[in-house]
Subunit: 229 residues, 2 copies
């Protein structure tokens, strides 16, 4: 489903400063797999997820998504790929502040051409699945941190994506809510066959993955830890 | 140091909707104490912290900070109280996007009248204390999620506040970094006598508190769990 082949990512925050966020990263996530990235703060997890999800381009190396070599694909193609095939939950959540929870979840479906009433019907179902149907009319600033994160999860599921990219998806919720979300992810993976790649600092979240990959100082470990089923 | 006495907080997101975020909340944090608030997502922790830190006003009830009844205090007085006595780490981090990490940490000291070179010298020490001296020149968008959170912690410590209010301070960092931060908080509390109130979903974070208070559906438990030292 997704592979990075010998990927470097080098940032230049200013003329004389270079930060190597990824160095020779090689990683394959098979279709229908759940893979977790773990590693210290600043090690390169978000950078790797952004490149895998075609939100950012590598400085060197190749990126393959759903069989396509997307390394130099044009932006229009990548936008369509993301809209129809890839769901994101950003570490910084990123809800649209001027839209309600319901509108935020419906937006990807409206953009994909769904009829309006159908998009809102499904958005209600998705909000219900994350326990927030009663907050449908709230704007992001009228929700708690954990509630915003759950709206972002519902939005990522909107177009029944092939691939789900989750960046610290449970960092703002309590243990019980996190467990309910993990059950939801596991069900989506087993019923729909959705491929899931996630960054997490929580061992319990990583425990739903079939494979855990460690990232340290921009280096992605070649050997993945296979967890017992 | 801080008390809530029979505090309600009611939001009105729209004309016909009322959300009771806090209901009769009564809570006292003694000077030099470390208190943790725990509870499900949406239960009222951030609302309670914002009122304790004078960032928001209760709908009913009284609020006392450092001996003052701040319930109806004027905004100018509260701004000075916050600047000199209270350090915040927001759940949504809230760094100033157009300032570097160093400038973000120096800002509260410049606002409090510190000489420029002194503010920057101290800001460098604080960034070093959270392990980010090498990112001093980065803007928030050039930092990882966990690095941004650590810059926010350094900023909260800038004016050596009497009271530190931390809203999920380790949600974006790995376990090892979180432990290092907890040691920093514990040292600040024991060496400077700083009062610390924090919201967390992580039992390990709560374990540095002398008292854990549970919040559920806007109701703050009266009995606190005293942890063995
Ligand atoms: N401006 C607002 N308007 C309406 N409702 C609000 C507003 N702000 C918060 N709420 C509601 O108040 C309740 C308490 O929110 P609060 O942010 O205090 O929760 P929390 O315990 O910090 O949750 P989390 O663990 O998810 O951060 C929530 O149900 C939320 O939807
Ligand atoms: N735009 C940028 N310019 C310069 N450096 C950057 C930029 N974005 C990220 N970095 C650096 O790249 C490194 C990797 O960042 P990344 O966000 O991938 O880390 P992470 O593993 O997700 O960390 P966390 O667990 O804190 O979220 C960090 O050291 C960070 O400072
Ligand atoms: Mg990250
Ligand atoms: Mg909160």
């Amino acid at each position: 489903a997704i592979s990075l082949v010998d990927v470097d990512k080098v940032y230049r925050p200013s003329r004389d400063v270079e930060v190597v966020a990824l160095r020779g990263a090689t990683l394959t996530v098979e279709r229908g797999e759940i893979v977790a990235l773990m590693g210290p703060s600043g090690s390169g997890k978000t950078t790797a997820l952004n490149i895998m999800g075609t939100l950012d381009r590598p400085t060197r190396g190749r990126v393959y998504v759903a069989g396509f070599d997307v390394t130099e694909a044009d932006e229009g193609f990548l936008e369509a790929l993301r809209l129809h095939y890839i769901g994101f939950v950003f570490q910084s959540i990123n809800l649209v502040p001027s839209l309600t929870a319901l509108e935020n979840v419906a937006l990807p479906m409206l953009a994909a051409g769904y009829p309006r009433h159908e998009a809102y019907r499904k958005a209600r179902l998705l909000l219900d699945a994350v326990g927030l149907l009663d907050r449908a009319g709230h704007y992001p600033h009228q929700l708690s941190g954990g509630q915003q994160q759950r709206v972002a999860i519902a939005r990522a599921l909107a177009n029944m994506p092939l691939i789900l990219i989750l960046d610290e998806p449970t960092s703002n919720v309590d243990v019980a809510t996190a467990r309910a979300l993990l059950t939801l992810f596991r069900e989506i993976n087993s019923v729909l066959g959705t491929t899931i790649v996630m960054a997490t600092h929580d061992p319990e979240v990583a425990s739903i993955a079939g494979k855990v990959v460690y990232v340290r100082g921009g280096v992605v470990s070649r050997s993945a830890v296979k967890l017992a089923e």
